[in-house]
Point group: C3
Chain length 212, copies 3
């Protein structure tokens, strides 16, 4: 696989996640630096955790200036354009859907390169795809996207697992990657449009914690 092309794919993922981070900043009415900071944390967050867990340090944005510059520009542009966007949370969710579709495959691919077992590679794909958004939600105090009813993590499991399976059965990198990413996106898009859910646990919710 072509390292330069892979890196460009990484940058697309960085960009769409940076958009979601900046949109989260707009929901909190932060200042310009807050937009850039959240864009950067969300944009490079998942990839940073991926590189750290795999031991690929210093992580990708330390020596390459492009991811950081891209996040900063994205934060600035969203700061000025977001007021013209009617449905910012909807845009955030769709950008996030593109991001997780690409990152679940990229995370699994880099894990396989680092000698991961197939199971480890799938988990790494899921972690890479979801942790940017988890960090974004935690820092801005939004309820985690993981806790919502519609399918989310499942889409990344599907994408990463299909890619790992296809690679295992000898499919070359690009077809396997497109297969995984497209299927992940379709699953998540179906969840966004049609409200697809999996059957949830059939019992009562937990009681609130007793007072301290």
């Amino acid at each position: 696989m072509d390292a330069a092309l892979l890196y460009s794919l990484d940058l697309i993922g960085v960009f769409v996640f940076a958009v979601t981070g900046a949109l989260a900043a707009s929901r909190r009415q932060l200042d310009l630096v807050g937009f850039v900071f959240l864009a950067a944390m969300t944009g490079v967050g998942g990839g940073t955790i991926r590189d750290v867990i795999l031991g690929a340090t210093p992580v990708f944005w330390i020596t390459q200036p492009a991811p950081v510059v891209l996040c900063a520009l994205t934060g600035v542009i969203v700061f000025f354009l977001a007021p013209f966007v009617e449905y910012r949370y909807r845009l955030l969710l769709w950008a996030d859907a593109i991001g997780i579709a690409g990152y679940c495959v990229m995370g699994a691919a880099r894990a396989l390169n680092a000698g991961a077992s197939p199971f480890g590679a799938v988990v790494m794909g899921v972690v890479t795809a979801t942790f940017g958004g988890i960090i974004r939600d935690i820092v801005t105090g939004e309820p985690s996207v993981l806790l919502r009813r519609e399918i989310y993590v499942t889409a990344t499991v599907v994408g990463a697992a299909l890619f790992v399976l296809a690679s295992h059965f000898g499919l070359p990198f690009w077809p396997a990657a497109f297969l995984g990413a497209i299927c992940a996106f379709i699953v998540r898009a179906g969840a966004l449009i049609f409200g697809w859910t999996l059957p949830t646990y059939r019992s009562r919710a937990g009681r609130a914690f007793p007072p301290r």
Copy 2:
């Protein structure tokens, strides 16, 4: 010490923490994938942070499939069995108690192997034992178990410090490890059964933050 046996101990810790993660998912009424995801994050979370801080990368679950498969199975089993459990939060707390007792010793042991100072090893034990639960509580939006009144972190400090002290004074690995883990469990069990607390800070609570 026997690497295979150590690894089996790690798997026990992974399992009990995975149970607590899946039980937290049941309190939130997530779907099957949510159960597996939270089981995996909680099961391998503390050990991942341990390996990353010590520089033992790729972390343990990347190349070995067993921890990930174990977490997935645990998530599935809890999904189907949890409705029959009357006191899920109580079960979660007791599984967590077993987990922190084992992990505070394992974390300290691996830190000593990596050349840690005795103080660094105790901290590493505490971090390994507590961070799986911290991640679980943050992601599910439950108040952190750290903020509760009964003794929690203290139990891991006791276990890690006893193990490090005993090792320092020449006790072989297994007696030292059992000493640490048993004492940590006793302290935490006492807190769960009898509500043991340490004296808390004697002053007023902080005012809420001024409005933004």
Copy 3:
């Protein structure tokens, strides 16, 4: 630059952040171990993430006992002295201001040493300076200091960028470091005293998430 002197600067940063962690524990009325735990997490948190991202593992507090001992002592001292402090949150904010001023420069300096691009070094400075506080706020359930109106992240961007620029144009380490740290502190102090803000995003806040 002098490694021993650099290390002493690190310890000053560890100390002031440990003070803020312990003060956050006092606001939550935790016990002595809770004070020490939060002091340690906040004191070494930012530096730990810095070392992990740069690949400088095992991280600095594993082999050196001083940072851990310093955090423990700070936690104990604040536990006994905090009741005499009238404005604990104000003290927390000022200690935090000293900490971020020092750490934004130290983080950028270590990143440059590790071969970072100028952009990567600035981000590393910001991350090192802010993540101790982010961890503290998340674990104690306080609204993140990042979301407040007055300038915060901006101060660390100014400090890190001035240091990187000054180093780039050939200024020796110490003048560049003092320039960066002093300017970062002045910006944050102005925000604390005069309520300096940047213009915020001019639109409506985000709607709350729809019910699950």
